[in-house]
């Protein structure tokens, strides 16, 4: 009996879910749904690693799935949510003068441009069209980081970028050495970033208009 769906079809479906989740994050103005969104996205990425393991049989991908689910799916998002709960009201992005619809439209443009870039430059050397998904995810992460001022929102962008690059690595060359080590180093860096926020020394709502920060211009 033929399987209901091939691995490639499931991978493709999950790839679409990942892109939709990235656009969802791009469209959020409140911090807590954004954090929950990155947690969900990390679980989807983790599931993709498991599927890639079923295809390749490379055990490293299972470890990568476990690290992704635990660190970026549970640990870091929960620490970030703990920080959010310290504020009585919901934290909201103060923005860079751009409204949410504009940000989402920019996100869609990035998706189209990223896919176009893949098709014109990389398709001939990387024939698996799913590679476009992590590349677009990384580009959307840059957009998320660049268009937000709230530290937790920027942190979400960093986690998404990490998801994207590890996804790209596992998809392009599942046998690449040090993949787990790459993930661990990136997660340590994520923990350092969260540590800066958690220490309270870096106000999560800080804006560039603060008078002292005038010194950091020029």
């Amino acid at each position: 009996m033929a399987p209901v769906a091939s691995f490639a079809e499931v991978e493709g479906l999950l790839g679409i879910v990942v892109i939709i989740s990235a656009l969802y994050l791009q469209g959020q103005s409140f911090v807590d749904p954004t954090i929950r969104g990155i947690s969900a996205q990390s679980f989807v990425i983790s599931a993709i690693f498991v599927i890639l393991y079923l295809q390749s049989g490379d055990m490293d991908l299972v470890y990568l799935a476990i690290v992704t689910a635990i660190v970026r799916g549970i640990l870091i998002p929960n620490v970030m949510l703990y920080q959010v709960r310290r504020f009585k009201h919901s934290l909201r992005e103060t923005g860079m003068g751009l409204r949410i619809p504009s940000l989402v439209i920019m996100g869609v443009v990035i998706v189209i441009a990223g896919y176009g870039l893949y098709k014109t430059v990389l398709l001939s050397v990387l024939p698996n069209s799913l590679v476009a998904v992590p590349l677009v995810l990384i580009l959307l992460s840059f957009l998320l980081i660049a268009t937000r001022r709230n530290a937790l929102m920027q942190m979400t962008g960093f986690l998404q970028e990490e998801n994207g690059v590890l996804y790209a690595g596992a998809l392009i060359t599942p046998s690449i050495p040090l993949l787990i080590e790459f993930a661990v180093v990136l997660d340590i860096l994520g923990v350092v970033l969260v540590g800066v926020i958690l220490s309270g020394t870096r106000d999560v709502l800080r804006t560039l208009e603060a008078p002292e920060l005038e010194q950091l211009t020029g």
Partner: protein, 480 residues
């Protein structure tokens, strides 16, 4: 020197700062300075042995060529002087973010990661080591616990990490194309897929370029350099930026002999000269003297990238400039630290007439500024001259003219500002609010705070006058 000995020296080179990082955390007063000084001394001795007796080749986990050994020596030497200068500087920080034993431990760890990056024989480990430099140095930037320093640390960590993810893609693409990440194997292997490797170098440019302060990815650099404590600024400018350039150049050198080599070389030259010109123009408009030095570092990194990309005598010039700039710029940052301590301000307008109060520091700062902007006979001049010669001999008139413009702009911009600041008319009141000595009263300067920058400045001079044959001999084994 037999191969096994050289491996053992590499191990000592890395083990020394790693051990220093661990011992510094022991809860005993003063142990952190002693441990860091001893580990810095051991690392410097090991790097000198490698520089003088080392041979090129594959040593298992380690890779050695002229560039590796020169980078290891430069990193160890600036580490040594920064630890020594820290003994003077950091106890003056009123409310440090972390305990001093943590400061020294992180400084040792930071050096360990840089030494690992320049000695390891694997592109994947180079990426891990460069990423780890960010982890180990983030808290060092924020040590002074001011709002600006915390913000600078945040921007540094976030921007650099975001950029470095791009360089991880570069590593992935190299592996996909070549099937290995081992440098010694990669250097002997013809490029299997030109397009993939070109994309890999492009991602390396974005990723490592962000960390090296290459425009337009340089946004973190002036903030982190100006807000970090001076010994840390010296290490950032003198050795961290070149370590990132090293990682980029290692990736670029894999393209040797491929069809895309010239195209990617032109891309790197374009980014390098753009960085140098942008920084040269900005230097002269700074109001904060540490930011001014930061932009000077950016200008130097742009020129060094151009030198490596040009190859030949230009690549040798880039190596000379890395060494000379590391010593001269660390000297300038130590002097800037003396000025910060005496005036409690980083604003140029608040420290006019430095020489009236800090006579020797004032003169040394001025000389250091001349050194980093390529005044003869300092080493930076020799390096810049070699790069300019290569540009001329390659027949690229536009690049030659742009390089000359960058040199002149940076020279005038930085030295004009520094001379105005050091020798300008003091506009401070006779007695300040904190009861400190007014700026026109000379204060007794700490001997340690003068000896260390003076030593580095002299080394920068010696590099220009006497060390070129040594560097030429050591660097000729390098692929570019």
């Amino acid at each position: 020197m037999i191969a096994m000995d050289q491996t053992a020296i590499f191990v000592i080179l890395l083990a020394a700062p790693a051990a220093g990082a661990a011992v510094s955390l022991l809860p005993r007063d003063g142990v952190e300075i002693l441990a860091s000084m001893l580990s810095a001394g051991a690392a410097l001795a090991a790097s000198l042995l490698l520089l003088v007796f080392g041979t090129a080749g594959d040593f298992g986990f380690f890779y050695s060529d002229g560039l590796t050994r020169i980078m290891a020596f430069t990193i160890s030497a600036v580490f040594f002087t920064s630890v020594a200068y820290s003994a003077f500087y950091i106890k003056r920080i009123r409310e440090p973010l972390i305990r001093f034993r943590w400061y020294y431990s992180l400084l040792d760890l930071f050096t360990f990661t840089m030494l690992l990056a320049v000695t390891v024989n694997d592109l994947g480990f180079i990426w891990i080591a460069v990423e780890a430099t960010t982890v180990s140095s983030a808290l060092l930037v924020a040590l002074e616990r001011e709002r600006t320093s915390i913000e600078a640390a945040w921007r540094y960590t976030l921007i650099v990490s975001a950029g470095l993810v791009a360089s991880l893609l570069s590593v992935v693409f190299v592996y996909f194309s070549q099937g290995t990440l081992v440098i010694s194997t990669l250097l002997t292997k013809p490029v299997a897929n030109d397009l993939l490797m070109a994309v890999a170098v492009g991602f390396a440019l974005v990723g490592y370029g962000t960390k090296a302060g290459i425009a337009p990815m340089h946004a973190w650099l002036p903030d982190a350099h100006s807000e970090a404590p001076s010994p840390v600024s010296a290490m950032f400018s003198g050795i961290l930026l070149p370590t990132s350039i090293y990682a980029l150049v290692r990736t670029f050198s894999l393209l040797q002999g491929s069809a895309v080599f010239d195209a990617m070389r032109n891309l790197l030259i374009g980014f390098g000269i753009f960085t140098a010109l942008l920084a040269a123009v900005i230097i002269g408009n700074q109001r904060n003297y540490k930011r001014m030095l930061a932009y000077s570092s950016m200008e130097n990194m742009g020129i060094i990238l151009v030198g490596f990309s040009l190859g030949g005598i230009g690549a040798i010039g880039a190596v000379v400039q890395i060494v000379a700039h590391a010593f001269a710029k660390s000297s300038a940052f130590y002097e800037a630290g003396n000025i910060v301590v005496a005036f409690d301000s980083k604003s140029m307008s608040a420290v006019q007439g430095v020489v009236n109060r800090l006579k020797f520091s004032g003169y040394l700062f001025t000389l250091s500024c001349f050194a980093v902007t390529g005044a003869p006979p300092f080493g930076v001049f020799v390096g810049e001259f070699m790069i300019l010669s290569q540009a001329m001999s390659s027949g690229n008139i536009l690049l030659t003219v742009l390089l000359a413009i960058a040199y002149v702009y940076a020279f005038i911009g930085l030295n004009r500002q520094s001379i105005l600041m050091i020798f300008g008319q003091s506009n401070s009141p006779m007695v300040d609010a904190a009861g400190k000595a007014p700026p026109d009263h000379a204060v007794r300067e700490n001997l340690l705070s003068l000896a260390i920058p003076l030593a580095n400045l002299v080394i920068s001079l010696v590099v220009g006058l006497y060390m070129i044959p040594v560097i030429l001999q050591a660097a000729t084994g390098f692929a570019l």
